[in-house]
Structure formats: structure tokens, C-alpha cells
Chain length 432, copies 2
Amino acid sequence: MQRKWTSEIGDEDVGKDILLYGWVHEIRDLGGLIFIILRDREGFIQVTLPKKKVPAETFELAKKLKRESVIKVVGTVKKEPKAPQGYEVIPKEIEVLNEAEVPLPLEVTEKVPAELDTRLDHRFLDLRKPKIQAIFRIRHQMLQSVRAFLCEHGFIEVNTPKIVSTATEGGTELFPISYFEKEAFLNQSPQLYKQILMSAGFERVFEIGPIFRAEEHNTTRHLNEAISIDIEMSFTDHEGVMKILEELIVRVYEDVVENCEKFLNWLNLKLDIPSLPFERVTYDEALEIARKKGEEIPWGEDLTTPALRALAEEIGDVHYFIVDWPTECKPFYAMPYEDRPEICKSFDLMKGPLELASGTQRIHKYDMLVESIKAKGLNPESFEFYLEAFRYGMPPHAGWGLGAERLLMSMLNLKNIREAVLFPRDRHRLLP
Amino acid sequence: MQRKWTSEIGDEDVGKDILLYGWVHEIRDLGGLIFIILRDREGFIQVTLPKKKVPAETFELAKKLKRESVIKVVGTVKKEPKAPQGYEVIPKEIEVLNEAEVPLPLEVTEKVPAELDTRLDHRFLDLRKPKIQAIFRIRHQMLQSVRAFLCEHGFIEVNTPKIVSTATEGGTELFPISYFEKEAFLNQSPQLYKQILMSAGFERVFEIGPIFRAEEHNTTRHLNEAISIDIEMSFTDHEGVMKILEELIVRVYEDVVENCEKFLNWLNLKLDIPSLPFERVTYDEALEIARKKGEEIPWGEDLTTPALRALAEEIGDVHYFIVDWPTECKPFYAMPYEDRPEICKSFDLMKGPLELASGTQRIHKYDMLVESIKAKGLNPESFEFYLEAFRYGMPPHAGWGLGAERLLMSMLNLKNIREAVLFPRDRHRLLP
């Protein structure tokens, strides 16, 4: 007998025997009648045991069942309008595959709300809640949509090293590793490698992989280990990759709406598909909007959280780009405008007050890049392996990095980015 | 004018102007006639400059072109049976987007073979060779096929942490990290996390991500950073996941044959699609075959490289499973047979003498797992976060890990696993 998921039970099963596996979500014992709500990853089904209609040993076993135990059920499907799915199963056999201990360290039925820390401590139980599992089912769809879209647009999937010898942007936010006799670091971004691949002639690459940042402060928007969606593209500029980015976001929303209806329902969410093109706001305009709302920022400085909130108030909780940033705000590889080199061909993708992605056209000329590295107070010698790729035929190119968790968080209105990660890592959390 | 890749030029372009971007692969200057072979990632095209038919400044520019410079070409397509693709382009305009320095540290035309170390030192140039690029185009297809197959079989893509507090298998081959005030490690396998996700009710998960192993010895088959394709599946046993694995391998071969003909040609390779089911050889039989070939291995010990070579001699350079390994050979989570606990429900997938994947049915009972951890000389206390998931409803489950580079290496007959990685990491190599 082939196993069925609860969601697969339909009219064609009525009167037939089916095999189910799952967890004991709830039990109601009315004496001569026992109801078990069996949960699997696709939903719930009511297993009904009228004492006189099921084998005596099955009835006895059901009486002793403990919540969250794993069971196997073989039984007959009946229509039952009063049951949650419209069907019930009258068991011929129940087998306990693994019994759960009592009491549970965390409730799965969500009757008792728990603190995030408690939930993360017992994440395996927390993830059994349909509302929580829905996040990761939608995350799965998001990743497949991102890849499908990029593959259709000629991007090649790559993997670049996570163990590196140099800080990508010369920052101090790096985790050091003991690598045999040498010191090495966990990479904070695939930036330098995806640029090298442009020199290698790949023309369009993407990588979806972990990045590591030793940021010391705990916020609801930062992780120390995150998944970054990165692209790099030759023979284009910042406008070219912004177009790819906004179309990608729309594709993800469309696919989630089309394929994840059940999970959006579990989350009690309705998604609006963003419209194209996304609004472009220049850095100068952003400063002006913030100033009018009482947030004065000196030209050349990064936008503060209150300034971004002011912007979101004005523009709305929608996707928009902030473009034409001051060159001093952006990393050394950002390409300045020819006619106004104090600003560069750069953009941040925002959803309301949250930054989702960041990108630029890159400097592709060796001499200019060396000067730019020096101007940031960095030593070109530590970028030797990267700089060499610019001396023998580096094409013009542009790219961006998009935070997978940020995208998911903004799409599903999650209050804390840790909700978008199975096993989050922050300054205080290394377990589970 | 929309840019075309060289491979896109066809009869419909004859007589029309097209836009090309690429690298100067070769130049032949015959005085009044110059030939440029332009290379992009999809192939080559001949750009022909008869002095009298192209603008004077374009002809002069072409005379000074340096190999491997990046150029833009706008020109008219002509049929030319003698040209490599059957077409040539007569340029109206050539622009140098970035000039390459002279001399090149590595030849792209492959006329001069180079040592692997030299090639890896200048990987951006090495990767420009069609033969080398073909490996990574096929790798791209391999990854997409693996994901498509697993998604079609109900697997959910997940990402588990790479920064962890405990060794997965208690080994010493770990890279330590300074994680703020704590000591942490780079994960050597997602094993414990994907098992926790079985307790979390995900039922079927996969992850394609980096693993890190501080193996000290340099071989042609080992990497210190590799990409692992991992699955875990509930309500099945080792046989169930072996079936998934062998079908997956066949799917990858089929897709590569169907979609990567050009790249297989660049590699001068013809792929045979393996036939199902793969042969199963027990550990005991393997020992016997090895013994007959002069390789005596005491029962309970791992198969040595010479023994695996002897096996491959007997069985052929095909995919096969070695099953029913001694329990002492396999990690603590391997499920012993009920009736013969000295062997366990385990398998290695081999291609000839190369191990590609390894898997087991897992122990899902808490008490048995604790005993097994102790029996391996490990301390259950350091596995607390993992063991908790077994106390409250862990389903029976099984899984495997498949080395992405091993799969690619065996499919393409690469002599060194470093050929299957863009930027390999080994004991001595941290750059580029």
C-alpha cells in the first residue's frame, strides 16, 4: 500500500484503505469514542475510533497515545462533513513508530504562545507548527523561482570559496579561522570571486550560498550567518542588473502566489504582486525627503534607520530603489559617474524601510581600481589575486547581492529575521 | 542593436548587422587582410578585415589589438564556408573595452600545456579555455538536474548552519573559528541538522552547500572545502534512499547528454547513461573479491584504496553500491540490522574505484542512539541539542551525502578533483 499525505485524500479514496504516517497532533477521548488528529507536513486528518468498530488492541493503544508521537495508520476513508478536511479514517491498525516523552518542552498546537528564544531552543518542535513550517515551504519556492529565473536569463550557477585569505571590502567584521598553519577568514561576500569570473569569461553567474559577518550588535534585521543571492553580469551597467533584480522579485511573488496558496493560508497572508518598474529615488532626493521629516543627514553619509523609516512613510511599504549614492558611501569597486565622480552607479533595493539588496556597476579598469582601493585606505597588495584578473581583459560588468532572508522576511511580514532561518546564528546563539 | 552570442549567429543574420562582445582569441595579420577570432562564452566567430572594405581607423585599431583584450564589434554577417562556424563578420566598428597586458601569464589557446598549479594561480585565464569552461557549464546542468529531480520527488530545499558548536561525527578534522567570545567550528556535514529536520516534520529535505574538512593529506580526490549534495527522508529505509540516489544519477547523465552536447564536444567526451538498478555488492563480497586479487583486509576495517581498485577491476568502471558495512566502520547514527547488529543498513555509492556518496538508515530511537554515541567513545552531552530531537517524536529516516565534485569528476573523467572546482582549497592553497 502506497503511503498518502493527508492532503492527498480525496473522494476517490472513500471506502478504500490507505496508509498514513504522521504525528499525533491532538487526542480527544470520549470514552467509547476516540478522535486522533494526525498531522503530517501537508496537513491534518481526523482518525476516528468508535470502540465497537475498531480492533480492541487498536482502541487500547489509542487510549495510551502521547501527543507528538509518530504513528503509522492503516484505515478506511469515510466522508465526514464535520471533520476538518471533510474526511475521516477508521483505523484497522495503528502502530507507534516512536513515542514522545511527556511533557513537551514546547507546545505544537500554538495554544500557548512562547518566546522566540524558547522556540529557537527547541526548534525541532517549533518547526512542526504549520504556521512556522509554511515559512520554509515558501522559502523553498522562493529559491526555486530565483534559480529558474536566473537560468532562463543565461546565468550560470557557481560556487566560490567560503574560506578566504582577504577581507572582501577591507572591513573588520570577519570571523578568523585556523587553516592549518595559516590564518584565514570566512568570506563575507562572494564579490571578488564573482568579479574574477567575469574576467574568466563566464559573462553571467549566480551563487546562492552562505555569507558570514562578525557584526557585534544583535538586531531584528541582522544575522551572523545568512544566505546571499548574488549575481554578476558582463557587458552591462547598473541599470541592466537593476532590471534583472526587479523582474526577479516580481517572478518570486508571482510563483509564491501561484504555488503556495496553502502555505499563505496557514500564515493568514495575502500577497500583492509588486508592479514594474520599481520607483527610483536618488540619494539626493532621499536626503531631502528625510530632511522634511526632521531627519537631517550630512551629504555623503549613509542613510540612518530613522531616515529610512521617514522615506518609507513617504513612499509606502513598496519596493523601490535608492540610486546614485555618494562614492564615499560605497565599496571601492563601485563605478563613479564620469561627469560627477562624487556619486557612483549604485543602488539599494528597499522594501519599505528594509534594505533587501545592494549593487553597482563595477570599476573594470585596473589603474582606476588600484586608485580606488588606495583611496579607501586599503592596501592593493592584499588584493593581488583579484587585481591580476583586471590586467588581462576584464569586461565591463555589474552585479548585486540580495539577502535571501531579507527577501523572505519582507514578503511574509516577519517581525524578526531569525524567523526566516531554520537554525539562526547570532552573537549569543550557536545552538541548536 | 541587441547583442548576440557567437553561437546564435545563423542564416537569418546573413547580410545583417549584429553586435558582438568578446575576447580576442587569435589574430592573423596578412598585411592587407586581418583575421580576428573573437571568443565569447558560447564559442568563436571569425571577424574578417579586408583593408579596402572596413573603415581605416578600424583596420588600424585591429593591427594593434592585443590577444585576450575585450572588444565590442558591430559588423555585417557573411556566409564563409572556410570560417570555423561557416560565417564571418565584416566589422563596421571595433571598440576596445579593456586592453590585455603583454605577455599573458598563461596561454588561453592551449598551445602550450601548463602545470595545474600554474593554471590555478591564474585561474581567470585558465577558465577562459573552452575545455575548462565546459566543465563548469556541465556542473551547472548537474546542479539544476539534481534540484529538479529532488523537487519532483517532494524534497524541500533547506540551508543549515555552517558555523557549529560540535563535530558531526566526533572527528578531529575540523577547522576552528573564533566566534566572538566562543570557540566554534566549520561544519563538516549537515548530518545532524538534516536529521533534526526529520523530527521537525519536514519528511524530505535536501541541501546543496559547502562542507569543510581539515584533512591534512593532499590527494587528487580530496578537498578541504567541497560542495555536498545531502538528502534526508522520513518513513523509509536505506533501500528507499538508495533508489532515489541511483535514479538521481541516471537523471543527471540523461540531462547532461540532452542539454550539454556542445560542452561534451569541447571536452571530446561521449557519455554513456548508466543502467538501473546499480549493482549491489556486500561488504563481505567486496572483501572476498579483494582477497582474491591479493588485498587481504581484516573484517571490520575500511576498504583500502588498493582494495577499491581491485573491486573496480572486477566490477568495471561503472556505478555500484557496496552495502551492509560493519557497524564499527560507520558513524554512530548508522542503524544496525536487528538480526545481525555487527553490520548496519549502510551503503557507499561507487563509480569504479571512486566513492561518490555514502548513506545509511539512521537510528531513530533515543536510547539506542545514546548507546551508539557512547560506544564510539563520544560524549552524549555534546550532542544534547541533537539528541533532544529524538525524545519527542522522531520518525524512522534515512539519507545520504553525495560529493558534487566527485560526481562531476567521475562523469567527466577528470584526473584531479581540483579540476571540478573554480577556486579549490587544499592544505597549501588559499588563493586565488
